[in-house]
Subunit: 462 residues, 2 copies
């Protein structure tokens, strides 16, 4: 098919939308390591996990053998409200850069939650409803996940309780109001509604909270109420499974026009978007059917893949969750407060970590100012205002396209545009005012984080 | 075609996108009255208008004979970045309401500017560029129009100077930063950069500004600089022409599935969205080809159609612009400060005014709290967070659907969902906190506004 026929936006028909999620673990020879009970250091059993998570989600979490899992019809119907997400040809960006490269992006910001998080939120809410639960609890920092979960729970008429890091609750009142619009109960964390919250408030009366504390409160709240479970927006294998809809749609859209991408780029925080985007393509690599260059982009201020250790670590700073084998900076690691947006997690999904460890993808770390420069350059020609997280991928896509300009190669590049930046204008303002810093942790800073990683036979960091 | 086959979202193919704007004035037997020079009370000539507006836009403003006007290819290419906008079947809302009515909405919020304003902004920027101009000036209040124009100017590498009402500049820093991201120079109005601004600052040192003042500054700035013109985001006939892309796409999408709407609903401020949505359908009515019930929805706090006078009036509070024949509350009328969002304009597009006067459309006024109730109801099931302006149309669409529930009629209702409410969370917060008021101007309040309408033979208000 001649290039001229490729539209600006490739939309799948509803009938072409994927009906199954793809579970990349099934095709991995080296499976991601199992979650461990921090007390016994034994793999977490179904029974241990079902007290915290919905039964079906536990099954998905533990399932590393079925390559395809049917998407229930009710979830597919919800997906139809905002999916298929367009695969956009960045004609204007290509022209602006003067590159022979062909650049595409999969845009996941076309829904009110403003990001890809909704893909998993609706699935998790559905299974909670199916199980006859009354509601779910979660934590949120920047607010993308909390917003997505609020929407999903509203759709299924499920109670939704969000513990929002107090400093974000106060500084991001708009995020809070969106969640309230969808009927969620939003509590600034630490709060006096949980034991762990009261304890922290007693110890640190003026604290602005942390994600670790909010997770602890959300887990305590869920396990302490009849008919509630805790849900999480990234890191877990079940989340990557749900997010595979991104990659499956991308693959189908490319197939429609007989296009094969050369380079696939995604931003990486906990791994939900990256894992979802790349899964089907990694599957082809694992099965020897095709080869792609895959690049994970992380912030230089929180460089879990490029500078972390591949060991078992706590998933939360409160250390209430199981241990996961992953690239980690240590659960006590905190990125500098001036770091904008998400991608602040100390670890990385076990699936992405394993794939990276086995050489199936590359990783690069980029600094904040260059990310916002790329974001603004992109916005001015493509018209979409990208989230800071997504802009990490934009930065590297532009870099790769400029390399093609030097070499004259007509590579096809695709990146994940995970969401919009409407609620991140404070960061854009800092960028415009030249007040953005490019802090990169020193080796000494990292050593402090590594020191908090649990040490046991086979899991020595130093 | 059976109903089951209608997808959640009807997308046109790029090849099906309209290539012409539709100029409803050509089909109107009673044409809208011409703009008058306030000094001579004679119709404004091409020469008089071209000092303020781009030549081609003046031609479009004066053209009430050509029914179709080609959309230049460059504008069509830009449109392809965010259009066709989906026509969405509100299956979830229908289910929630339990109505036999079929509800559709044309969603114009799928671009960073967040509203339909971009449809005209890109056209106006294009013609400015074609004329070899250096830049354009404009005013903005809430910020939707300023944002759209900034994006459009960035695309054509045109200087963009936005005079933003000072109180909005300070209270809506995020809107300001979006415009800066697109390279616009945003000045709080009144400012010391213009004579009129300096004069007002001297007289009222602490003023928060007004739209009327910002218009005056923008016009002075444009006419005082070589290579600049002034542009406007609503009210003018040229703007309705560009916005006809909304109605043309809606018509084409319905046609694809052989659907004929019974009721067409749009929110009405200056008339840009309403006029654009209904134009092609009104054209059919005018030509006797079809009949539709058309409803304009305005806020009860600023009821130009339902309680205004159909006379010549100033288009701006600063009284620097020509006189227009329209439904007006008087250029001195100011809606209560607690009124949320846009739709605050004292008058109404001449085209919409004429059509309303001739009985081609109905108008209803709705109160603020009921609008936000409808907005929240819609958001919770349809997933999109609507702008307060758009929610006026949602309110009446729901009302009409509930009437169908009573009568059992399976009417097809379509409304314009003009944009998203991401930057309106302060209003949502007031609504959640029960702090929203439903002020409706008394007859005395209106009389004060009417007193400012110019009186001359044939234009007596009292």
């Amino acid at each position: 098919m001649s290039e001229k026929k490729i539209p600006y936006k490739i939309y799948l028909e509803e009938s072409e939308m994927p009906k199954q999620w793809y579970n990349v673990r099934a095709d991995m020879k080296n499976k991601p390591e199992p979650l461990l009970n921090p007390g016994t250091l034994k793999p977490m059993s179904f029974e241990e996990l079902q007290g915290v998570f919905c039964d079906e989600l536990v099954r998905q979490e533990l399932n590393d053998t079925d390559a395809y899992i049917d998407i229930p019809e009710e979830i597919r119907n919800f997906y139809k409200m905002y999916r298929p997400a367009p695969l956009v040809r960045a004609y204007c960006l290509e022209k602006k850069l003067g590159t022979p490269a062909k650049i595409y992006y999969k845009f996941e910001g076309n829904n009110t939650s403003g990001s890809h998080k909704l893909n998993s939120a609706i699935a998790q809410a559905y299974y909670a409803k199916e199980q006859g639960l009354k509601g779910v609890t979660t934590e949120t920092g920047a607010g993308q996940w909390g917003t997505a979960l609020s929407m999903a729970c509203s759709y299924f008429d499920l109670d939704c309780r969000v513990y929002m890091v107090k400093v974000s609750y106060e500084q991001k009142p708009f995020r809070r109001e969106v969640m309230r619009t969808y009927g969620a109960k939003v509590t600034p964390s630490p709060s006096d509604t949980t034991n762990v919250g009261r304890k922290i408030l007693e110890e640190f009366p003026g604290t602005g909270g942390s994600l670790g504390c909010a997770i602890s409160e959300a887990v305590e709240a869920a396990t302490g109420m009849e008919g509630y479970r805790y849900v999480l927006g990234s890191v877990l294998s079940q989340v990557l499974l749900h997010q595979s809809i991104i990659g499956e749609e991308t693959k189908a859209a490319f197939k429609k026009y007989d296009i094969k991408p050369d380079i696939i780029i995604g931003c990486a925080g906990g791994g939900s978007n990256l894992g979802g985007l790349i899964s089907p393509f990694v599957g082809e690599k694992l099965r020897g059917e095709a080869d792609y260059r895959i690049i994970a982009v992380e912030p230089a201020s929180c460089p879990s893949l490029t500078r972390g250790k591949y060991v078992y670590d706590f998933c939360d700073t409160g250390k209430v969750c199981p241990l996961a084998k992953m690239y980690t900076l240590g659960s006590g690691f905190m990125p500098a407060p001036n770091h904008a947006g998400g991608l602040r997690y100390h670890g990385m999904s076990s699936v992405v970590s394993r794939l990276y460890h086995d050489g199936l993808l590359e990783a690069v770390a980029v600094e904040q100012t260059s990310v916002f420069e790329a974001a603004e350059q992109f916005a001015r020609v493509e018209g979409i205002l990208p989230a800071p997280e997504s802009s990490h991928a934009i930065k590297v896509a532009i870099d790769e396209a400029l390399k093609c300009k030097e070499t004259g190669e007509e590579k096809t590049i695709v990146f994940g545009l995970t969401g919009t930046g409407y609620f991140d204008m404070v960061a854009y303002e800092k960028f415009h005012n030249g007040e953005m810093s490019d802090y990169v942790p020193s080796d000494e800073d990292l050593a402090k984080g590594f020191a908090g990683i649990p040490s046991f036979p086979g899991n020595e960091v130093f």
